[in-house]
Amino acid sequence: MDILPILSTLRRHKLTAWLLILEIALTCAIVCNAVFLISQRLQRMDMPSGVAEHELLQIQVADVLKPVNPYARAQEDLAVLRQVPDVQSVAFSNQVPFGGSSSNGNVLLDPNQPQRTLNATTYFGENLVSTMGVQLVAGRDLRPDDFVDVETALKGLRTGDSKSLPHVTLITRTLAGRLWPGQNPLGRLIYLTPTVGLRVVGVLASLVRPNAYDAATAQYTMVVPVRMGADKSESYIIRTRPQDRARVLGAALAVLKKADPQRVVTTQRSFDEVRSRFFKDDRAMAGILLGVIIALMIVTALGIVGLASFWVQQRRRMIGVRRALGATRADILHYFQTENFLLATLGIALGMALAYGINLFLMLHYELPRLPAVYLPVGAVLLWLIGQLAVLGPALRAAAVPPVVATRSV
């Protein structure tokens, strides 16, 4: 296909051609960045939790009147929950992965260091690792004799009596790698305060924080052997088969209600719901961005259709002359397709530069990462496709112009 005649024709429509190029460039730049933003959201929503999510249920209850002995109450509740048919395991935890509300501690490697090394979340509760299906990659799980009651631990903290404090902890592989890169973490000490030293006895493959808002620190997790009493902020975690979840949840609520009819169930959900709730905003944002991209594509396509049909109408005589001189329908079709391809390519080239510019601006002002180069071809291909699709109709109409038009005066 000869490009020069196309260019010389376009030179007669400089302003409109440039506007179309500008439109394509803007669309390309916005689409590249929006697709990147969407993919970041999707990536975040895929964040691994390290637990058997499809097999877990969470229940929280609030007592109207405080139980006399909250520890006994918790143990009774756990016992009745274990009796529910199809329940495989039950744990009592201060927090749940992706639950939002979290307990966190400052980690020190040396009890006397002035600044914390990092901030990690602390899971408390018995049976946690086995119930949630967290994979232990080194060392051992927590044993019943490791556990200390919350109030005993608090008293130990107050009096400085280290005997009544927990002594061991499990940490995630990520946390171990961050604290002691390339070394064996087992047997090493972590300090939560200068008096609370915890020896690492086990390493977990993965266990996400309840407050995993930042992917870099999402796996900074410890499990500390502290036993809690029944309270509205703690959760019962139940493991069962995926297909039994709804039934088991109903039965579990019934036995908990039966144990104390006065109490109020504040949370009852599967872990799938926990995850979907945690990432709701990300999903919404991705949805809106997708809507904007589609709207943008439609608008650009409409612009191309409009301008192309206008040009076809304007050049009917020229088309007729070309047909009369022996050009085939395909030649005319290709002429308009090539013209659009040229405009789109120019627009895309400009758009890529613009996309990088916008990304730089976003990086500077909104803490976004750099746009990977892989998104540029995505935008380019999308716009080429849109352009070709949009121009097809007008180009076919042009190809249908009969040669006899050449002989008519306007």
């Binding site: 302003l15 409109t16 506007l19 179309l20 439109e23 803007l26 669309t27 730049a29 916005i30 960045n33 929006a34 933003l37 609030a62 109207v64 009147l65 509300s101 400052n106 260091q113 002035p114 600044q115 914390r116 109030e151 608090l154 008293k155 903290l157 107050r158 305060t193 509205k232 006065q262 109020v264 504040t266 709701k280 905003d281 999903r283 919404a284 944002m285 949805g287 809106i288 809507g291 904007v292 709207a295 943008l296 439609i298 608008v299 650009t300 409409l302 612009g303 259709v305 409009g306 301008l307 049909s309 206008f310 040009w311 304007q314 976003l362 002002h365 909104y366 803490e367 976004l368 306007v410």
Partner: protein
């Protein structure tokens, strides 16, 4: 004359239906997507109490050791019980209130209903006047009732409906967490977003407004447990008593300061207080106090997620693309009509008349596009409700000013888009034009 131009415009638009439809659709889509995104994010980033926000202040104090502080150097956005009580006692602001979130069990007065936990706040009586909380019945409690830790309660309209069937329940008794409370007021629906009086606990947005309020002093006496707590060290004593004595922060605070001088004085007072506590050994680390007015505080707290601004940029980009698109199409359409312009100029039409004619035509397209955009915005709002989490979707209201903005944007865009083509068209030499055709 305008009627004539309107007639001309309609005739011209009828001649090229396809192109007209494209322009209208393009404007409609652009305006609608831009307005829908704006509706959501303007609401999310809005001022929750615009008529008063510059007079409401949030005192913050850095009280922990350097090692426990935030990396960005911002002090905590809540106070300890000790400090909140000291600020209340000294009472240096025109109005002020310590605030904490409670969720007591409420036993409805009507039989046959189950107890349920109701989210609310423990506040001082001045809270309602300070934040202009609207009342349906009754009013807030007095400072005497604050001092006496009186068992009184203010209900939300929703809780009043649930507990008392929506009647004027002032003077009635309600069982809250096992004790009788006298209802002194019922608020109208009130849920300003962001939840500026409890950013610490709410994170900024809640789908439901507070269900009940009770005196702060009473909630403390009844040991009603709080929502979020942030600690440097574990409290040295267990339970509520330990929390009250600890360096944990869990109480938010709002003060009304009516003049710049009052704000300065309060800032000085805050610095003096923190200095005193630091000398006494209660506060660690370097002095780090803040007294920001509400807009500045919300900004510093990053209540509005960064995404929101990115989304606004995207929406704006979309509008720009639509504008460029429409300029291109209008240009194509108008420049084609040089023959017609030539005839009109030759017959004596001044340039102004050509401008007016073309601007009328552009305006008609703009109005049509705006009307379409209005409809599409409405559809967009429905989609928003499906896609967005309720707490954000509830914010997205299609209000009158937005409607007006939609129309104005559409017409302005197209008139701007029509300006250049009409300018060029009006400059066409009539003689040259007549000759060539």
């Amino acid at each position: 004359m305008f009627g004539y131009y309107l007639d001309l415009a309609l005739r011209s638009l009828k001649r090229s239906r396809g192109l007209t439809a494209l322009m209208v659709l393009s404007i409609g889509l652009g305006v609608a997507s831009c307005m829908t995104t704006l509706a959501v994010f303007r609401a999310a980033s809005g001022d929750p109490i615009p008529w008063k926000s510059s007079r409401l202040f949030v005192p913050q104090m850095g009280i922990w050791q350097e090692s426990a502080r935030n990396a960005d150097g911002e002090p905590l956005d809540a106070l300890t019980y000790t400090d909140a009580m000291a600020l209340m006692r000294d009472h240096r602001a025109a109005r002020q209130s310590a605030i904490y979130a409670i969720a007591p069990a409420v036993f409805p007065a009507r039989s046959g209903q189950h107890p349920s936990t109701v989210g609310g706040y423990a506040v001082y009586g001045e809270f309602f006047r300070m934040l202009d909380v609207p009342f349906l019945y009754g009013q807030g409690w007095t400072s005497q009732e604050d001092a006496a830790a009186a068992p009184v309660v203010v209900l939300s309209r929703a809780l009043n409906l649930k507990a008392f069937g929506g009647i004027d329940s002032v003077g009635r008794m309600l069982d809250v967490s096992g004790h009788d409370y006298r209802v002194v007021g019922v608020t109208d629906d009130w849920n300003p977003q962001p939840v500026f009086y409890d950013v610490f606990g709410s994170g900024g947005f809640t789908p439901e407004g507070p269900g009940l309020f009770m005196p702060f002093t009473r909630a403390i006496a009844a040991k009603l447990s709080n929502g979020r707590t942030a600690c440097d060290k574990e409290p040295t004593q267990p339970g509520f008593a330990g929390l009250k004595q600890s360096d944990c922060v869990w109480i938010t605070f709002v003060a009304q300061l009516d003049s710049a001088a009052a704000a300065r004085a309060y800032r000085r007072y805050l610095d003096d207080y923190a200095g005193e506590q630091r000398r006494a050994g209660r506060f660690g680390g370097k002095p780090n106090n803040r007294l920001r007015d509400l807009p500045a505080f919300l900004d510093a707290e990053h209540v509005v997620p960064g995404d929101t601004k990115v989304m606004l940029l995207v929406a704006l980009g979309l509008l720009v693309v639509c504008l460029v698109n429409t300029v291109g199409l209008l240009l194509a359409k108008f420049l084609r009509r040089s023959a017609e312009i030539g005839v009109r100029r030759a017959l004596g039409a001044p340039r102004g008349a050509i401008h007016a004619q073309f601007l009328t035509e552009a305006g008609v397209i703009g109005l049509a596009g705006g009307t379409l955009g209005l409809g599409l915005t409405w559809l967009g709002m429905i989609e928003i409700r499906l896609v967005l989490p309720p707490r954000l979707a509830a914010l997205a209201q299609l209000d009158g000013s937005l409607l007006l903005a939609t129309m104005a944007t559409a017409v302005l865009c197209t008139v701007l888009a029509g300006l250049y083509p009409s300018f060029r068209a009006a400059r066409v030499q009539p003689a040259w034009q007549l000759k060539s055709s």
